[in-house]
């Protein structure tokens, strides 16, 4: 069957898609943060990033409960802090910045799906914490765009450049 075409997330997803604790997959692990930039180097204040990753043991089964709800009034409670759901979602702030709190993935990378106003079809990239985990297929001159920079113990910086000199590697997953 032919797939349903993609369309942009638009500018007004902000009251629908982000949820409390979306950027905190787990506490007590690492912080990865950065900006999203456009081709002119300007921050993108209306991007939405989704993260999907393995648990520290490399397990990719995930768990429900990312959007856990109060059984009485339906309010969003957020994660219970015990189950590792593996999924996060963060909207960039007015400065184009995002922050993710999570655990180190057992397979070395965090998958990222980028949505934005002006982006008609989302993009996939990956955050790697170490070069040794890079796949073979990366163009050597651009591979560094997938490597998070350690800033201090447990804090890593990862910027997404949608276009331009520093353009991030985006994947075709087939």
């Amino acid at each position: 069957m032919n797939p349903t075409p993609s369309q942009t997330v638009g500018p007004f997803y902000g009251y629908a898609l982000p949820f409390p604790g979306g950027g905190t997959i787990a506490t007590g692990g690492i912080i990865v943060h950065g900006h999203v930039y456009d081709g002119a180097g300007a921050p993108v204040p209306d991007a939405l990033l989704e993260f999907w990753q393995a648990s520290p043991s490399g397990d990719l089964t995930g768990a429900p409960g990312t959007l856990r709800r109060d059984a009485v009034n339906g309010a969003l409670l957020g994660r219970n802090g015990v189950d590792f759901t593996g999924f996060g979602r963060v909207a960039t702030d007015a400065d184009g910045r995002w922050t993710l709190r999570t655990l180190v993935p057992g397979n070395g990378y965090i998958s990222v799906c980028v949505f934005a106003r002006g982006l008609l079809h989302h993009l996939y990239t990956r955050i790697y914490l170490a070069r040794e985990d890079f796949p073979d297929s990366l163009p050597p001159e651009r591979a560094h765009t997938l490597l998070a920079t350690p800033e201090r113990e447990g804090v890593h910086r990862f910027d997404v450049h949608l276009q331009g000199e520093k353009e991030t590697i985006f994947f075709d997953l087939g």
């Binding site: 075409p5 007004f12 997803y13 009251y15 993108v44 008609l120 276009q163 353009e167």
Partner: protein, 256 residues
Amino acid sequence: MPTPPTQADIDREIAELRELRELRATEDGEGRDHPPRDYAPYRSTALRHPRQPLIALKDPDAAELTGPVFGVTDVAALDADLTRQHLGEPLGERITVRGRVLDRNGRPVRGQLVEIWQANASGRYPHRRDDHPAPLDPNFTGVGRCLTDGDGGYAFTTIKPGAYPWRNHVNAWRPAHIHFSVFGTAFAQRLVTQMYFPNDPLFPYDPILNSVTDERARQRLVAAYEHDLSVPEWSLGYRWDIVLDGPAATWTEENR
């Protein structure tokens, strides 16, 4: 400030790009199911599309071949009825939208999250950055969620959204639409898209819809009015099925 483009300028660009993409598709079999990320008539794409080619990743162990899971803890009963989320009832034409989420082999995507958001009947979003001077509706937020059932089915009760202006060019109007966010069994099947209503006179003028240059693919974004889905004395019914794209590897694996 450069002069903002007129509708005629945008119409010309839409026609040119459609013709160009038809030619290219015949030559190299480039896919036409999805819009190109570089699509000039939608002005915001200019600085937000990558110029480098995507890097093919073929890894049977890729994390993207699996994906997040959701369950009954993640949705509340009233999430799928956007007309009952406030003390009063929203204004507008009440509708029900139903359909199935399928993979490319036509198999249902079961127990997965479907999220929607939309403008109210007047074409206004309750978003700080929406300054369209149309009335907000205190009884309508325009956000819904549900999990697909055992047949991949989803259903929402809502009101028909209004068209609204935007500033892509002079006199730019978006056709009425509902935004959909859908998960498959693999992160690589992720889809965010928009559902349109049949026979909207604004279709030819909208660069976002027309970024899908293939007519048949564009039609897949348009719901069908289905009289049997209309609820007597209550709501008008629309059907819209969603087919998720995704890597070949996910097509042959048995679903969870």
